[in-house]
Amino acid sequence: MLIDYLPIVFLGVFAVLFAAVNLSLTHLLGPKKPTRVKLSVYESGVQPVGDARQRFSIRFDLIAMLFIIFDIEVVFLYPWAVVFKTFAENEGSGLFILIEMLVFIGILLLGYIYAWRKGGLTWD
């Protein structure tokens, strides 16, 4: 029922208000004495060198892509897990739904081993 979600909306409003009030209160109450040094990039007290937004390791990108692939496969397991017991009890032995899942996890495992062997999971 959609009405069940109403309290979550209320809580969301409360959370947003809490954050907004805190952020604006500190903006209003705090002193304002900016100086050039205070407003510059913090780099442990020395003059900042170059731009912060530089190239970063390709590994991070790789991890993000692997995450998306595996996470989508995990999402497919949720509906299966929820109906597992009911389905197995109705069917009798539960062998069908088990083998179905084993095939799915087998394919997932193949991809996982491939990523591992190709060095996608190694960080050095």
Binding site: I3, D4, L6, P7, I8, F10, L11, G12, F14, A15, V16, F18, A19, A20, N22, L23, L25, T26, H27, L29, G30, K32, P34, K38, L39, S40, V41, Y42, E43, S44, A52, R53, F56, F60, I63, A64, F67, F70, D71, V74, V75, L77, Y78, A81, V82, V83, F84, K85, A88, S93, G94, L98, M101, L102, I105, L108, Y112, L121, T122, D124
Partner: protein
Amino acid sequence: MEINLLEQIVIPIIKILFIAHLLIIGVMAMIWSERRVSGWMQDRLGPNRVGPQGLLQPIADGIKFLFKEDLIPNHVDKPLYVLAPAMLLVPAMITIAVVPFGSSITIPGLENPILLQIADINIGILFILAITSLGVYGVVIGAWASNNKYSLLGGLRSSAQMISYELTLGLAIIGVLMLSSSLSLRTIAVEQGAYPWKWNFLIHFPAFLAFTTAMFAETNRLPFDLAEAEQELVAGYHTEYSSMKFAIFFMAEYMNMIVGSAVVVTLFLGGWHFFGLENVGGEGSILAGLISFAIFFIKTGIFLFVFIWVRWTLPRFRYDQLMNFGWKFLLPVTLTSIVVTGTLWVVVKENKQLWIGIGNVVAAFIVVAIVAGMLAMDNNSKSAVQSTPAAAPLRGLDAVE
């Protein structure tokens, strides 16, 4: 659809105000106890001057944060910079909505019993996973908007770590879902029943450990706090933040810890159940409701203590160790746990829970042994390749002597 004003508007709002304030007070209590317990573990006092036992210290801190200069540096992306703390805080706060913090109270005159939970939705776990992953945005956006090298590095590390361990987080729950056949946290807590030997942490012990570990990584706590490794990155993604904006990052982290502990207690440690104590005074009575809430509160508190305890026990991981651990150990262990749970449930006819519990632990040991063996082999072949050129001059020296 007819809306019952009292039951669907007024009572939820009362519950929300109660829980939200409890959460904020909980954060203060955590800040105090973190510092006091740290002090105790390191044989020093910790803050003890503001109020009795230093109890008012978090309030003093909060007031100080409010009156500090709200500095917005020149080089930042201003809208995103201001928005980032809120983007971390709001998901952390909303997640508590689906966690049941007690049984239910029946009040005569009302149609339905009052559930001690803000919203009992049937997709509770999906909601938690969905909302907690939104927290990554707060970290990444805060780090990017700061335009600071430390922030960016911290944000990158943190986001890669959070998404890596989110897989484990999602996979570890599936075994629990299979045996409870529901995504609602209340149903899962009720299914576990009153006695500890029926709770999920024994049936799915490897999954419980994996889930807890992933929880630590998700909240950026030691031993996974590489995002803000002080010696390398100053303060990580919130280096450029000051005043209340900095405090909000901090509060969000503690809220994530509290909510995470509450979720672990619900999923694996029987929720508000404890040897039938939660039914003292009859099911649905106000006394029983209060006792169940107290049990849940104490369990969560003990788990939060473990957070601090671990902080002063385990040193920080190196980044490649962290990634290896998440991808090469936790992921296979949780996957195996699913397969073992499913197979044993179908194959074994009696004492299913007992055999699944034993099977899971045995399978986890086997998987860890295999992975450790494979990693050792990898390392051997790697060091054999690397050692040849380095060893050559040494052998030459030997020959001279």
